[in-house]
Symmetry: C2
Subunit: 469 residues, 2 copies
């Protein structure tokens, strides 16, 4: 585990608040060690910093009331969805109250004619899509994990579909949120666009619970496409694969997913699922449209891929065959874990302008090799976003140190290429060191906003801003 600095604890305030909330919430407030630790960070190498209590509110009013209690006594609140975030977002470095929103999990309304819906923050993306299926609608943002929509909004999540459908910032029309003083606000309407005042929706999306707790989300939806096709193609190099990506996007093909797996990742999935793929960089694609449209899109991609040395191109619109083609991607996580048994996969992410993607991925491969790290790469290539997942024996301090140095090096490399230290995971605790390098004095403005909206710093303290502005 990697130690993260703790922040000063307001012991007396915490004790008082836990007492008051216990009265109010009864069994819906939990203080057992196991449940507290489950609500701290559990997914990567960042150490677990458990909250002092976990509360399960039933509605927005309860969230508001409990934040008012915490505000009165200067006690931190940390919102929690499913705990699948990767940069320590749910940790409680100063202790405090975890607000577990999993019981606020109602789909409030779906408006098929308007292609939108309103949901509570505890609804997961898979639950929403099951709910929507028989209405012919879907919500496209897919970060991999079955995250809650509140958590996805809070971290500005994206994932494989972002190249076509955008990220949470593009698909959240409005939120209801509780501010640090308990005030409940609504940041927008169901209108699909607006020029009415400051864009508080986008300010709260990606603010990682440091400005407000999101208690309701209005989302854009999409009609399930008439046809979906998938394609797969191998390339002699990462550079060639990235050239194919650039070509298909410049051509204007509205590709829905375009995923890059590097040689190491392909080796891992071959080993795990006996796929027999050439152990060279691989692109997996998905197209949405009419039957003719998806056929044409796949053909155009096939032609463009061939021009840059692509081989083994396959495309299909049959659901079973699509699953087969994409198996390499679906099994990637489990394949990685088996590739180095006993190691922990510590995912990091970076995002660069697409023209720099090949250079950045290749450098990341070379650097991992130099350090002796095994670090498969999978990327949302159409956005220039990729994940490196060093497979680390956590009981080997030297290896952990190397992997940490590697993540640091990669973050700085992405920034030096005009990119960002995080395309979709967020800053949390893990990426604070890079935010200032990436955005300079913009962090001063962020700190001013934070201080204005949360002067006592009770909203998820210790996240995003390092406190040095």
């Amino acid at each position: 585990m990697v130690e993260i600095a703790s922040l000063p604890r307001n012991e007396r305030g915490i004790e008082t608040v836990v007492g008051i909330l216990k009265q109010q919430f009864g069994e819906r407030l939990q203080t057992g060690q196991a449940i507290r630790e489950q609500h701290g960070h559990t997914t990567t190498w960042i150490e677990n910093q458990a909250p002092d209590a976990v509360v399960f509110p039933a509605d927005t009013e309860e969230v508001s009331e409990l934040i008012k209690v915490c505000a009165t006594h200067d006690v931190p609140v940390i919102p929690y969805g499913t705990g699948t975030s990767l940069e320590g977002h749910v940790n409680a470095p100063a202790g405090g109250i975890c607000i577990d929103l999993s019981q606020m999990n109602a789909v409030i309304e779906v408006n098929p004619d308007d292609l939108d819906c309103r949901v509570q923050p505890g609804v997961t993306r898979e639950d929403l899509n099951v709910y929507l299926r028989d209405k012919g609608l879907f919500f496209p943002i897919d970060p991999g994990a079955n995250a809650s929509l509140g958590g996805m909004a809070s971290t500005r999540a994206s994932g494989t579909n972002a190249v076509r459908y955008g990220t949470m910032k593009d698909n959240v029309l409005a939120v209801e949120a509780v501010m640090a003083d308990g005030r409940i606000i609504r940041t927008g309407t169901r209108a699909r666009k607006s020029s009415a005042g400051y864009d508080l929706t986008r300010l709260l999306v990606g603010s990682e619970g440091t400005l407000a707790v999101i208690t309701e989300i209005t989302l854009r939806l999409y009609g399930i496409p008439e046809a979906i096709s998938s394609a797969r193609c191998s390339f002699p190099s990462v550079d060639a694969a990235c050239k194919a990506v650039t070509a298909v996007i410049q051509y204007g093909v509205p590709v829905s997913r375009i995923e890059l797996l590097d040689e190491t990742m392909v080796r891992a999935v071959n080993g795990y699922a006996a796929l027999g793929l050439p152990e060279t960089p691989l692109l997996l694609l998905e197209f949405h449209g009419t039957e003719n449209g998806v056929r044409e899109q796949a053909e155009i991609f096939g032609d463009l891929a061939a021009e840059v040395g692509g081989s083994g191109f396959e495309a299909t619109a049959s659901p079973e065959e699509r699953t087969r083609l994409w198996k390499a991607r679906h099994e990637a996580y489990w394949a990685m874990l088996q590739y180095r048994p006993g190691a922990k996969g510590v995912a990091t992410d970076a995002c660069v302008p697409i023209s720099k993607l090949a250079e950045c991925v290749t450098a990341a491969q070379d650097r991992a090799a130099e350090l002796g790290l095994i670090a498969p790469i999978v990327g949302h290539a159409g956005d220039g976003n990729f994940h490196v997942t060093p497979l680390v024996y956590m009981d080997d301090p030297e290896e952990v140190a190397k992997a940490r140095a590697y993540v640091s090096w990669l973050s700085n490399l992405a920034i030096s290429m005009g990119g960002t230290c995080t395309g979709e995971h967020g800053i949390g605790q893990g990426k604070q060191a890079y935010l200032k390098k990436e955005l300079g004095d913009a962090t001063v403005v962020m700190s001013a906003i934070k201080a204005a909206l949360d002067p006592a710093n009770i909203m998820n303290p210790g996240k995003i801003l390092a406190g040095d502005d």
Copy 2:
């Protein structure tokens, strides 16, 4: 003209600042009455409130320096692009210094592989598209006027292409901006997505110069599509036309433009350009894609339109024929002016969930008729956004009063339908009365942000926030 309350003037500060800046800028600071009035509001019925001086900075450093001078002496600064905004954004109700950014009009770089570019704020959208054409690229946001990109970012502009390409919020990757203390920040990188910290890009886009002056913009670009087709179809009612809009969007057709003209607007263009169109609601569409793709899109629309009573459907991919089909839209502004000679067209806008569009437009027609107003309607129907333009004899106070009451009624109606009082024009001075009705306590949060980032209220004072929070 409609009077707008003036704000207290800091006479001594203004005098001092004009003196200092005159030393620094020489002939690039102008104080003649004509040029000052040209830099106040000129486009609608909102009265002209001229600044005390107009400065033409050459670069970001100069903008920073002049804002520092204004900050020291507590003098307002009002950024100015082309002056085409419609809600009084460029007025100077407390006097102060207009920053005319028209000389900062360089395209700094274009990155074809990344589909992005960096421009100074004075570049207009038409200039950018001329610059991009031989690179096979274009920037899609088209608000009608040949606005500057800085102004478009500041008002969160959109227009006819928004249904497919989004608005300025979706197409600005990052901005460089000068804050109220002269600090220069950069809100993002060229990465196509990021989860690094608060989304200051989206906070500044649409902030109408009240938080910062935008001095550089990183924009998303798109490949010019292989093929473009246009279509036109008449409908027996606004309701039938809106049903066709909903159907084509739900079907997932990636329509690029879908414009509604109501009966009055069709009559006006018939009279102006002898188009001989049936004087019933009309939809004009544009499709972008491959040759096969745009043909298929137009066919799908034709079928869906016929199901709801559409008639006179025409579609074409020939450039000349496309111009002919869209003539009704291109000539709409001039046609309106001729429809009631001597009247001023006072455009307003509202945006509602698409399912409410027919009801809202029909109510707007009925209400205009009740009041005896001639008010053609044209709408970006795919977004639920429409413009009503009462044609007003400005020397008839009773008619002006009726038209004002009408705009007020329409704003409240849109809000009551779950929409917004402005889909794309912005709040400025003209729509302040509705922001609180629309967003309630969210305006308290906006005011807190404004106070934090511009404590002396020198950045375009009197815009967006009415000062009652």
